[in-house]
Structures are given as C-alpha cells and as structure tokens.
C-alpha cells in the first residue's frame, strides 16, 4: 500500500507546531501529470545503471510501498521532531 498521510510535529523550547497531517496521497496528482517526464527520467537512470526499466520501476514501487509504518522521533536540547508515515 502506498503512503496516504505523513504526520509531522516540531517542537522547540519557544514554539511548537500542532500535529500536521499531510495528505501524501494528493501527490498522485502531480505524479500522474508528470508521469511522461518521470518515465523518461527512469529510462535515463535505467540506461545509466545498465538495468531494466521495469526492474527499476519495481524497485521504486517497492520503496514507496514500504514507507507506511515509518516512525522517526528525535528529541534533543528541548527540541522534538516527530515524523510518521501512514
């Protein structure tokens, strides 16, 4: 499953953001619109790496589909950053 939302929260000793729910699924719109250009870029990368374009697409797709569930939380010097991908 591709990522649908990204949750980002940033907190410093002076200010903090609320939990921002970013609708990542909306990125599909520019991705679809730019798909011919993206395809050409992938073809160029595939030629550069001397691999099959379909293998490269499968790899990129695997990475995109592997993103949901990622959770990064860092706290240091009173600052806190949370990034979650759903």
């Amino acid at each position: 499953m591709t990522p649908n939302f990204a949750i980002i929260a940033i907190e410093t000793p002076h200010w903090r953001t609320p939990q921002l729910w970013l609708p990542v699924f909306l990125l599909w719109i520019p991705v679809i619109l730019l798909s011919p250009i993206l395809f050409l870029v992938l073809v160029a990368v595939a030629i550069g790496l001397r691999t099959s374009i379909w293998r490269l697409i499968a790899l990129v797709w695997g990475i995109v589909c592997g993103l949901p569930g990622t959770d990064v939380r860092v706290r240091s010097e009173g600052n806190r950053v949370v990034v979650r991908i759903l």
């Binding site: 001397r50 959770d71 860092v74 706290r75």
Partner: protein, 157 residues
C-alpha cells in the same frame, strides 16, 4: 501430494519449466515455514492464554538511542527512536543490487578504508532475504563505559 505441487513437478519432468522456476512456484503455493528470522509473539497477550504463542514475522526494525549531555555535548538528554518497516528495508537492500559491477571495486575499497571490510559483489540477490531474516533476529544492547551514558538498542518487533 498436493495437486498443484504434482502439476509443477510434471511440468518440470516434461521440461516445460526449469528447476529454478519449479522451486519458485512451489515456494509460492506453499505457506512459508517458520524460519530462524521469526520471533514468537503471544496471541491475545494478556488475556490469560499462556502458551498460546503464535509465530509471527517481525514487521519493524527499531533503533533506540539514548545519550546524555556528557556524551553529546548538548543540553539535556538526546533520544532517537526510529521504526523502519522491514518491507522498506528489503526494498533498500534490493536497491544495492542496482549498483553497476564496475563500481563494486571502488565501493569495496572505500568501505574497507572506513573499517567495513565488505565485498559487495559477494552479496547475491538470493542472499538478501536470508540477510533480512537474520536481521529480524538481531538485538543489540550497547551501554557506555561509565554505566548509562549512552544506550543503543536495535531490535525487531
């Protein structure tokens, strides 16, 4: 014998598919057996069903780091809590297989120069799953010299 399995073996005997293809097909139709890389999770934990342990695959790699200010030189403690899905890890490891063969030598040299004596060309795609499976079984606990200055935990859940 399972009907699907018999058909695959007949196709292999007839020379319609290769041994590798037959192996992949058989692996696809059979449920994956419990491997070394699986950990035991308790089904319905906490409801008194002791012993009802069910083997489930680890889904995430967790890295927890806790460092105090002496270690980092920063004010207050620093904590890092990262959860990476195993699926993403698998995809990332597969990405390494895209590195052109010509670059392997340079990478190996650079890695060994930085204290990682790894030969990339020896990592075959068929070894990757095994590598990830063994990673699922990994737990690393590190403590600083003076007791609890830095704690690093790497484990799967």
């Amino acid at each position: 014998m399972n009907e699907n399995r018999r058909q695959i073996l007949e196709m292999l005997a007839a020379g319609k598919i290769t041994a590798d293809e037959a192996e992949r097909l058989i692996a696809a139709i059979e449920p994956e057996p419990a491997t070394v890389g699986e950990y035991v999770g308790t089904a319905g934990g906490g409801n008194g069903q002791k012993g009802a342990a069910v083997k489930t695959r680890a889904k995430y790699l967790r890295v927890l780091v806790e460092a105090d200010e002496e270690m980092t030189g920063m004010k207050g403690p620093t904590t890092v809590n990262v959860r990476v899905p195993m699926q993403l890890l698998r995809a990332g490891v597969r990405l390494a297989s895209l590195i052109p063969a010509q670059a392997h030598g340079q990478l190996d040299e650079a890695l060994s120069r930085h204290g990682v004596p790894l030969t990339l060309s020896q990592i075959k795609p068929e070894n990757l799953e095994e590598l990830i499976d063994h990673l699922e079984d990994l737990t690393v606990d590190v403590e600083g010299k003076e007791g609890n200055t830095t704690k690093v935990r790497v484990f799967c859940e």
